[in-house]
């Protein structure tokens, strides 16, 4: 009953999003929606490893960047864009498998610092190997349409959210959460912690790689190093935390809140908007553990308790 | 001297103590015995301020300990040796002892106190500049007790001083504890070696599941069947 309702809501939202380009003709607004969708993909894919499996990964941009660079090169070489994106995703998986075993030897803060360093290594290496800007060829520029990009971002975001939902509600998802909550207990029940972490990493990497591919298709000119920038990781992490890690809706809400708030702040506060944003973020971390989803849950719990105590009163 | 009245203490969300009341009079040696997880350590930690009871009162020498910040409790003359001693392994024996006299009251007289401690534990003087981590188990326990003595306590609380020690050392440690008590320091002892604890103590409390279930003089309890049954049934 409840599941059906959320399914219907999801369907309606998807349909609405698909219809957006019919009504929105302004490029700047559409670009803006593209960014939200991109961030939904990034934050949701980060959340699979960081939220559901509890491994705070600060090298997420590496996967995003790998997807972007592979897609861009293949696409320029004449490949079909979807095929190129798939290869981008697979490249991200290959890298995830490569680093998985050494990375998961590290625990807690060490994993976090280690992944941050890994991301930086890739960032610097790509900067060295591909120092030149990647500009769309003139003939592609002429045929450039934003609507195509919008639908691609929408598709990637849908795939990501769908994949996250499926995994979260599967046996694997249960295992991941068990690993996050209590690795010893999980292992004692037969959950292979390493396998689950690796699976989460691979899935997270693949989805981030796809998002990178969409970005490569979207951006007219950029330095190949740019998608590897730690900014992408930090932004996705912040979004997931603001919305609520370990939930499906959290990163989505976080991404929307993040992008919209940033835009609103930058329109109204001009140049000091990152400051206000930083303050807000700190407030969320300090006072809203569990992000917006956590807050929502607490409000619901309180109401529940009130209802229960009311019920008790009426049945003395 | 020390009086706990009806205290309830929680570990996070979990209640560990239910209405514990006990009293230690000046100069006494009191034992607190009970099985694993009964709440002995929790009781001591509630007194030192490491944990704060949710309910009840603790008074020491007329001070309400619940209103004293944890770092000032030592200054009042309450000192505790935690289970396993917990010496600062990376620091030298001397530094460990100095830290024992961190409180402002004890710091002024730390040199005299240290000489006094050396009399009780001559081994420590030999190892003065060695890192505490390199000491043997028995020496560590001595250091832990010596360190606690450095604060010039009126009440010394010991949590399982015999834990993990060879029997011969256990005897030695208990001798030293007895000696300290004779010097006029009141002692509250938590010990799993029930017989030794009861023989040493003037009085004892039996604690089970976070509640006091028995109280009496050491000898009385020793012969009291319920103590044996608390362990063996």
């Amino acid at each position: 009953m409840k599941k059906n309702l959320s399914f219907v809501i999801a369907l309606v939202v998807t349909a609405a999003l698909a219809a957006v380009p019919l009504f929105v003709k302004k490029d700047s607004l559409l670009t803006y929606l593209c960014m939200i969708l991109l961030y939904v993909s990034l934050a949701s894919s980060w959340n699979i490893l960081g939220g559901y499996t509890g491994q705070v990964n600060l090298g997420h941009s590496a996967f995003f960047g790998l997807g972007a660079i592979a897609t861009r090169l293949l696409w320029f070489a004449g490949w079909n864009i979807l095929l190129a994106m798939l290869v981008g995703g697979l490249l991200a998986i290959a890298f995830a498998l490569l680093i998985g075993s050494p990375a998961f030897k590290l625990r807690g803060a060490y994993f976090t610092i280690g992944t941050l360093a890994l991301g930086q290594i890739l960032y610097a290496t790509v900067g060295n190997l591909f120092p030149q800007i990647s500009s769309m060829p003139v003939q592609d520029l002429i045929s450039y349409t934003l609507v195509t990009r919008y639908y691609l971002f929408l598709a990637v975001a849908l795939i990501t959210v769908l994949a996250a939902t499926l995994v979260a509600n599967s046996r694997w998802g249960l295992g991941m959460m068990a690993v996050r909550e209590q690795e010893d207990a999980a292992e004692s029940l037969g959950v292979n912690a390493f396998q689950h972490k690796l699976l989460a990493l691979v899935l997270s990497a693949f989805l981030a790689g796809l998002a990178g591919g969409a970005f490569a298709f979207f951006q007219i000119g950029y330095y190949p190093q740019y998608p590897f920038s730690p900014i992408w990781t930090l932004d996705s992490t912040m979004m997931a935390y603001i919305g609520g890690t370990g939930t499906i809706l959290g990163p989505i809400i976080g991404a929307i809140f993040f992008v919209v708030l940033k835009e609103v702040l930058s329109l109204n506060l001009a140049e000091f908007h990152p400051t206000v944003f930083g303050i807000l973020f700190i407030l969320v971390v300090l006072f809203l553990p569990g992000g917006f989803m956590g807050l929502w849950k607490r409000i619901k719990d309180k109401q529940q308790k009130k209802r229960e105590s009311m019920a008790e009163l009426s049945h003395p | 001297m020390l009086k706990l009245t009806e205290i309830d203490t929680f570990y996070g969300d979990l209640q560990a103590l239910w209405g514990i009341s006990l009293e230690v009079r000046e100069g006494e040696m009191v034992s607190l015995i009970g099985p694993n997880g009964a709440g002995k350590t929790t009781t001591l930690q509630s007194i030192t301020g490491l944990l704060r009871p949710a309910k009840g009162s603790i008074t020491f020498d007329g001070h309400d300990l619940l209103k004293v910040p944890p770092d000032k409790i030592v200054d009042l003359g309450v000192s505790m040796v935690m289970e396993g001693g917990r010496v600062f392994a990376g620091m030298t024996v001397l530094e460990n002892l100095e830290l024992g006299a961190y409180g402002s009251r004890a710091r002024k007289e730390r040199f005299e106190t240290m000489e006094h401690v050396f009399k009780t534990f001559p081994r420590l003087k030999e190892r003065l500049n060695q890192r505490a981590g390199t000491l043997s188990g028995g020496e560590r326990q001595m250091l832990a007790i010596g360190r606690a003595m450095m604060s010039k306590p009126k009440l010394l609380m010991l949590d399982e001083p015999s834990f993990g020690l060879a029997p011969i050392l256990v005897d030695a440690i208990f001798e030293m504890v007895k000696g300290i008590n004779k010097q006029g320091v009141t002692i509250l002892l938590v010990e799993q070696n029930v017989r030794a604890a009861l023989e040493l103590a003037d009085r004892a409390y039996v604690i089970e599941n976070g509640r006091i279930v028995g109280e009496g003089s050491g000898e009385a309890l020793l012969s009291y069947e319920s103590v044996r049954s608390a362990y063996l049934g």
């Binding site: 610092i113 290594i121 610097a124 992490t237 300090l286 | 010496v87 600062f88 830290l99």
Partner: protein, 295 residues
Amino acid sequence: MLQPLAQNIIYGILIGALYGLAAVGLSLVFGVSKFLNVSHGELLMLGGYASFWVFKLLKIDPFLSIPLTIIFLLLIGFIFYRLIFSRLIKLEVEKKIQNSLLVGFGLSTILQNVALRLWTADDRSITTAYSGLSFELAGLRLPAVRLISLAISVVALISLQIFLKKTFTGKAIRATVEDWQSASLMGINIHRVYLLAFVIGCALAGVAGTLVSICYSIDPSMGLNWTLKSMVVMVLGGLGSMIGTFVGGIILGVTESATAFFIGGNYRLIAGLLLFLIILIFRPQGLFGTKEGDR
């Protein structure tokens, strides 16, 4: 070939000392309170700007203005601790590391933005009358400014070491690092120790920032890079050992310089990070650490 290499290694040591100094502050804070303060690099930047403006506006020599920088950073540290970090101390270790990390990101966003707006994105550096001066020793050049910087780093480190080893307060800090519960039983106010360690860490970052502004240059976005370097050095040297951390910084500096010399400047950053990852995986307690390093 040998002489240029030796010269190059000297420069590696000189910059390594700055890495070390920056990392010592971070390491101290992490060791005592388990706050992984990722806005450490931004604190360094603040220190750099403080010296720069004092030099530019009041014409006070940057080396002489270090006490002012220290006071400034102590104040900043005090405010940040009271407003923000003190709210995290009750959390369990893992959560504390994670949340301090996140809060740090927020702080670094704020500090970067404020610096950008106050002082523009331009690179700044301090050039004194004696910049460029150097002594020659056995055919090797020893640059004056960097030598003084090295000396100041060493003095800062030794003062810290003396403070930690000889004073009661310093011992209290070390005791808290080892076992905060025991420390608390000694009558040590551990909250005060946390605060103290935090502000000392900030002050060290400030000193490092001053030296960076003299030897290199500063700009509002420099923070992340220095935070990362500090974290690398902190792990490299091993947690809990100040001297180890400092030596770790020098090792990183020399590694980078040697890489630039033998392979090329493009790879210096990567070589340092790779060294870090290798050590993290095979010796997580660091080169000089003794404790098991999984906390």
